[in-house]
């Protein structure tokens, strides 16, 4: 490989890495979540697995996270969803009644970041095992703040 080609490859690598540091499409990326569905009254939701991740705008100052357990925890105990923002613990949400949607408003900490999005991770205390492994239902998240 000539020196020119090496420099070109290195430059492409650096440009690619710079782009991937904060890509604009990250807000659409999820992990551990099944496809959107709609239950009869018209409420859109997605099932999580035992853990799930999604992204919200860094400008948001808070979010309302709708959750529904559907299946109870072991021995009828509430299902607990632990919420993390960029790997920092934010809240534990208790879902005591399986059929009820729980709308929890969570303030998002104002930490300095150069990224467009913050990562939200959910860890669910139990899963329901059938043809699929299911955690909890998540509804459409409402954001607060300048870009909400």
């Amino acid at each position: 490989m000539t020196r020119t080609r090496l420099v070109a490859v290195a430059a492409l690598l650096v440009l690619g890495l710079a782009y991937l540091r904060d890509p604009p499409w990250l807000g659409e990326v999820t992990s551990g979540m099944l496809r959107w569905e709609e239950d009869p009254p018209g409420t859109r939701f997605r099932w999580t697995i035992g853990r799930a991740s999604f992204f919200v705008s860094s400008a948001a100052t808070g979010m309302t996270l709708p959750l529904r357990a559907v299946f109870p925890g072991p021995n009828g105990r509430p299902v607990i969803v632990r919420v993390f923002v960029d790997d920092r613990w934010l809240a534990d949400i208790e879902l005591p009644r399986p059929e009820e949607w729980v709308q929890t408003r969570l303030p998002l900490p104002r930490t300095a970041t150069t990224r467009r999005f913050r990562r939200i991770d959910l860890h669910i205390s139990r899963t329901a095992v059938g043809p699929f492994i299911l955690g909890v239902m998540t509804g459409e998240i409402r954001l607060e703040g300048p870009l909400s």
């Binding site: 992990s31 853990r51 990562r119």
Partner: protein, 430 residues
């Protein structure tokens, strides 16, 4: 033109593979690349790299509340997880998964082992090994066949069979990896018998070990090494003498292969308290050697190798007309192919689940490529036969591509296809 085509063939296959991959995995209805058997092959990689856990317990707890979907069971007695699929694919994927892991940290994606970059790294690893396999196969064939024969053989093997499908659509399954390893086995075995250099001995030992831990039954293919280019029983004694003279290299090769296989045995011992185990036993699967489904595996509409990849019938013809080097390779290749077919057809689930064509034969396509090339050479020496054979080979390859796209569009049943279904769905795309 032919030399140019041969030179850039692997690059062209890469472009086609990436185009197919993008088309498949950017559709709204696309499944995640890590799915089905691919999930179980891949599972070791995040367990080791991210969860620092060889027991597979951490992924079960973190993702699934302490369980797994069918495919991994707790072994009775030890209560530890036993993955029915071996570690080789995860080992071969590991460089790709490490890059994905670094990029995941860089982009602030969840370091959970299954988020965006991990999914594509695992699947593109399969595509990359398929390309490596093609490059190695080109090298082997180019040594013994004319450039035109080598080129058309590569085209037929890539698109006339289900190889391309398993590199692009199901790249997390073991077949693209096994294809590359068997191509390497053929190349290294051929070179090693010509000149037993240390680097060839080491490479052959490494590849032999990887073949076993990628797909355990492919250990059968290692019989090619001692039997390479033996053409009669009278040569067997001489071959034993040859191996004895090379005993140092044979020992080194075997030791290296054993070292590669050792972690798999250690995992079996840890999970079950046994060094060797039928990991499919919890699912009631095993071999029925006295009643193999040979017709089904080779010719049926359900899964027949030659029904779904008819261009390979030309390789069978090639076995009868092979000359020179290919003729010398034939006895070992034929015995290994026959034994392999018997093993594949004796598996309780001889259709190998949901798949396009018979996926278990992909691993040994490197052997069939030799006889396809031998057939094309024989035809090339008979100019009157060239047009009809070229037409048949082109049609068979085109049919395979069309049927692969039908499978991608979910036109075909994923298993148990009947003749009536085949006729009804032939060349339909909805």
């Amino acid at each position: 033109m032919i030399r140019w085509g041969l030179r850039y063939f692997v690059g062209f296959a890469a472009v086609c593979g990436l185009a197919g991959y993008l088309w498949l995995f950017t559709r709204d209805s696309a499944d995640a690349p890590i799915r089905s058997d691919g999930y179980f092959y891949y599972l070791y990689a995040p367990s080791w790299l991210i969860y620092h856990d060889v027991s597979l317990e951490a992924v079960a707890q973190d993702w699934n509340g302490g369980v797994y979907p069918g495919g991994i069971e707790r072994w009775p007695g030890t209560n530890r997880w036993l993955n029915r699929l071996p570690i080789g694919v995860a080992v071969l994927m590991m460089p790709f998964v490490i890059v994905a892991d670094l990029l995941t940290r860089w982009s602030n994606l969840p370091r959970d082992g299954f988020s965006l970059y991990y999914q594509h790294a695992a699947a593109l690893a399969g595509l990359a090994y398929f390309l490596v396999g093609l490059a190695v196969l080109r090298r082997t064939l180019s040594r013994y066949f004319a450039p035109a024969v080598t080129l058309w053989t590569l085209v037929a093997i890539t698109w006339g069979t289900n190889l391309f499908h398993y590199a692009v659509y199901d790249g997390t399954f073991s077949h693209a990896f096994s294809f590359a390893l068997v191509c390497a086995l053929v190349e290294l075995t051929d070179l090693w018998w010509a000149q037993p250099a240390r680097r060839l001995t080491a490479a052959l030992g490494l590849v032999a070990g990887l073949i076993v831990i990628t797909r355990l039954t492919n250990g059968l293919l290692l019989a090619l090494v001692p039997a390479w280019r033996l053409t009669s029983w009278s040569q067997v004694g001489g071959r034993v003498d040859d191996l004895w003279q090379r005993r140092g290299a044979v020992l080194a090769m075997s030791a290296l292969a054993a070292a590669v296989v050792a972690p798999q045995l250690a995992i079996y011992k840890f999970a079950t308290n046994h060094w060797i185990v039928n990991s499919y036993a919890p699912y009631g699967l095993g071999f029925t050697f006295l009643s193999p489904h040979l017709f089904g595996a080779l010719f049926s509409t359900q899964r027949g190798l030659f029904f779904w990849s008819p261009v390979l019938l030309l390789a069978v013809a090639g076995a009868f007309v092979a000359r020179g080097w290919a003729r010398q390779v034939l006895p070992a290749a034929a015995v290994v192919f026959a034994l392999n077919a018997w093993v594949i057809a004796s598996w309780t689930e001889w259709q190998y689940g949901a798949s396009y064509g018979h996926r278990a034969f992909i691993d040994s396509l490197a052997l069939m490529a030799i006889f396809l090339a031998a057939f094309f050479t024989w035809v090339g020496e008979r100019p009157r036969l060239v047009p009809p054979v070229a037409a048949v080979a082109t049609l068979a390859t085109a049919l395979s591509v069309v049927q692969m796209i039908q499978y991608w569009l979910r036109v075909w049943p994923v298993r148990d296809t009947t003749w009536e279904q085949y006729r009804a769905l032939f060349l339909t795309f909805r």
